[in-house]
């Protein structure tokens, strides 16, 4: 029963948040829903396996191959469909692990203070000062290209930001008098966390999870573009890598159906995420709401 009512609550508040979104935000939600649907239904709508040779090399788009084929004769539309899985999976996995992990560390640092806090914030400072992309390239080259490694590296580089934001949020919540009052009434730390800190912190965490998702998708694409992605996967970044790596692609019409689809798909996905992130920030953050988004 509790689960049902919880789900109803969540659905209700999601509906409420959605109704406050701007037109762009609504487009973003619909766009993401579309991409998720494509990713889930990939085997049904693609028609071909993305890794099987099903046609001639570099065929132009036609009724048999909606977006044509690549140099090995693999269907590009089905690569786009299955590639959506990769991008979404990597983006969400990194964002959830880094967001929740970083958030938990941030709350921990904010609540405990002292040496733990010092140590954690010191590492956050260093991590944020390191030039992440050149390091990403080198680390992923050394770890070897696999989806798991890419996720691990991206998590390592993206937990610091939410940790810092959540820590400062926790610290500012802790100074409120109602926390002191609750403590005087004998509230346990766990109760304070659940009743007062988490509800305040979660919206902020949610916004940073969305921004990490785009960061992770961009970083994965960049690594794959350089040839450091998982070679067995057909992510959109790998498609860019193979297409731009094809000799004289710019002197032939092949780029029109080989390079443009992953490019458009990626930009569409990133824009949708950005629209959602921006609107969520405005709806969930009370301070921005008061400012009227000006």
């Amino acid at each position: 029963m509790r689960i049902v009512s919880f789900l109803e609550d969540t659905a209700g508040s999601a509906k409420k948040i959605f109704s406050k979104f701007s037109i762009e935000g609504k487009i973003g939600v619909c766009g993401i829903a579309l991409i998720v649907a494509i990713a889930i239904l990939a085997p049904l709508i693609s028609g071909y396996s993305p890794a099987k040779i099903t046609g001639g090399s570099l065929e132009a788009p036609s009724s048999t191959h909606l977006l044509g084929t690549d140099e090995l004769g693999m269907d590009i539309w089905s690569q786009i469909c299955y590639g959506a899985r990769m991008s979404l999976f990597i983006g969400l996995a990194v964002a959830l692990i880094a967001g929740i992990g970083g958030g938990a560390l941030g709350i921990l640092a904010g609540c405990l203070g002292g040496t733990v806090d010092q140590l954690l914030m010191r590492s956050v400072d260093i991590l944020l000062a390191l030039p992440s992309f050149p390091l990403l390239i080198v680390i992923s080259a050394f770890m070897g290209p696999s989806i798991f490694n890419v996720i691990l590296i991206l998590v390592f580089f993206s937990w610091a930001k939410p940790a810092r934001i959540i820590r400062s949020q926790t610290l500012s919540i802790k100074t409120n008098t109602y926390i002191t009052a609750a403590k005087n009434f004998g509230a346990t730390p766990f109760y304070l966390l659940r009743r007062h800190i988490l509800p305040e912190v979660l919206p902020v965490l949610f916004v940073s999870i969305i921004s990490i998702t785009s960061y992770a998708i961009i970083a994965e694409t960049g690594l794959a573009f350089l040839g450091l992605g998982d070679p067995t996967s057909k992510s959109w970044g790998m498609m860019l890598h193979y297409a731009t790596g094809f000799k004289s692609i710019y002197f032939t019409p092949f780029w029109q159906w080989w390079l443009i689809p992953p490019l458009v798909a990626l930009i569409f996905l990133l824009l949708c995420l950005a629209f959602i992130g921006r609107d969520l920030e405005q709806v969930l953050d009370p301070r921005l709401r008061q400012a009227g988004g000006a």
């Binding site: 010191r122 400072d125 260093i126 990626l266 824009l271 995420l273």
Partner: protein
């Protein structure tokens, strides 16, 4: 915000600590990579000419490059060489790493600095136009467009720009930094050729950074424009243009200065990918080929140069900022 001595020490301590972590990472990472520099010793990128070494040759080279020493001894050697400005010998290019870097770094510096200047120029101009027309339609449209535009990562933007201007319109070259085997009649000819090849990478990088500058200028100008001295300037009878440029803009640019330092850092990182899009022979393309060729010393050298450049930029910005704003600092 008073800058005390302990704050200063804190900044330098953080800088040193970050540098140390970087050096340690820089040293350890390439050594943990799979494969070794002698597994593919070929003379060209395509790997068509693979020279297979005998066991003896391999052992000889492992000893020659000091790769058979224990890790901590290698680290000490690395640090002491570094102190002498010696970054080692590139295994792939067969010359000192410093020379490889010096050959390619100028191209990266060229496009990064030009892109910084261009994005500052356009960003500040647009920001001022937007702030002066605040709450009007043109401001809203410009802001919505630029914010969405900023979500496109620089290398995807680079591919689009390459497709439009290089492939479709044939206006700019597809790759390289100079026309191969060209003979120049004058210095201007040469400069023209370099500018012609650098145009697209610079355009890409500056467009990617434009929105940050634009938003910062706009918001900073809007908050400055409510200050008393702006009203005083207007009351003195100064023209609207002078009020905005001399009084408002001058004060609004302080946060933009801070941003510039971070921007150069981000651009250095972005250049790594963008250079690969345009096959521009800067340090990013070199890093990519060094990773492919497992050229440890070169990877270390490039990472170090890029990272230190970024750290120093951030440190410098702090200095410049305190110089510009007398309220900060002693």
């Amino acid at each position: 915000m008073q800058m005390t001595k302990s704050d200063k020490q804190e900044i330098i301590f953080r800088f040193a600590l970050t540098l140390l972590v970087l050096l340690a990472l820089n040293f350890l990472l390439p050594r943990m990579m799979p494969g070794d520099p002698f597994s593919t010793t070929s003379s060209d990128v395509q790997g068509e000419e693979v020279v297979v070494m005998t066991q003896e040759q391999r052992e000889y080279y492992t000893h020659y490059y000091g790769l058979d020493l224990p890790q901590h001894e290698q680290f000490v050697v690395y640090l002491s060489n570094l102190a002498h400005g010696d970054l080692g010998q590139s295994i792939y290019y067969k010359m000192p790493v410093t020379r490889v870097i010096l050959l390619h770094l100028p191209w990266t510096i060229l496009i990064v600095l030009c892109a910084t200047a261009l994005s500052l120029l356009i960003g500040v101009t647009l920001g001022m136009i937007s702030a002066r027309n605040r709450k009007k339609g043109s401001d809203r449209i410009m802001m919505a467009f630029l914010i969405s535009f900023a979500e496109i990562p620089s290398f995807l933007l680079g591919i689009i720009i390459l497709l439009i201007f290089g492939v479709y319109l044939h206006m700019f070259p597809l790759a390289g930094a100079v026309t191969p085997f060209a003979h120049y009649n004058s210095v201007f000819d040469q400069a023209g050729d370099i500018a012609y090849h650098a145009a697209l990478p610079i355009l890409t990088l500056s467009l990617a950074q434009l929105t940050g500058v634009y938003l910062l200028t706009r918001n900073s100008l809007i908050s400055v424009s409510t200050k008393d001295y702006i009203r005083t300037a207007r009351a003195k009878g100064l023209g609207e243009h002078i009020v905005w440029t001399r009084h408002a803009l001058k004060n609004a640019l302080l946060p933009v200065v801070t941003r510039t330092g971070f921007m150069i850092g981000i651009l250095m990182g972005g250049a790594v990918l963008v250079e690969n899009v345009f096959s521009y022979p800067g340090i990013g393309s070199t890093l990519n080929s060094a990773v492919v060729g497992r050229d440890y010393p070169l990877i270390q050298g490039i990472l170090l140069v890029v990272a230190v450049a970024i750290l120093v930029c951030n440190l410098l910005v702090d200095r410049v900022y305190r110089h510009l704003d007398p309220r900060v600092g002693e």
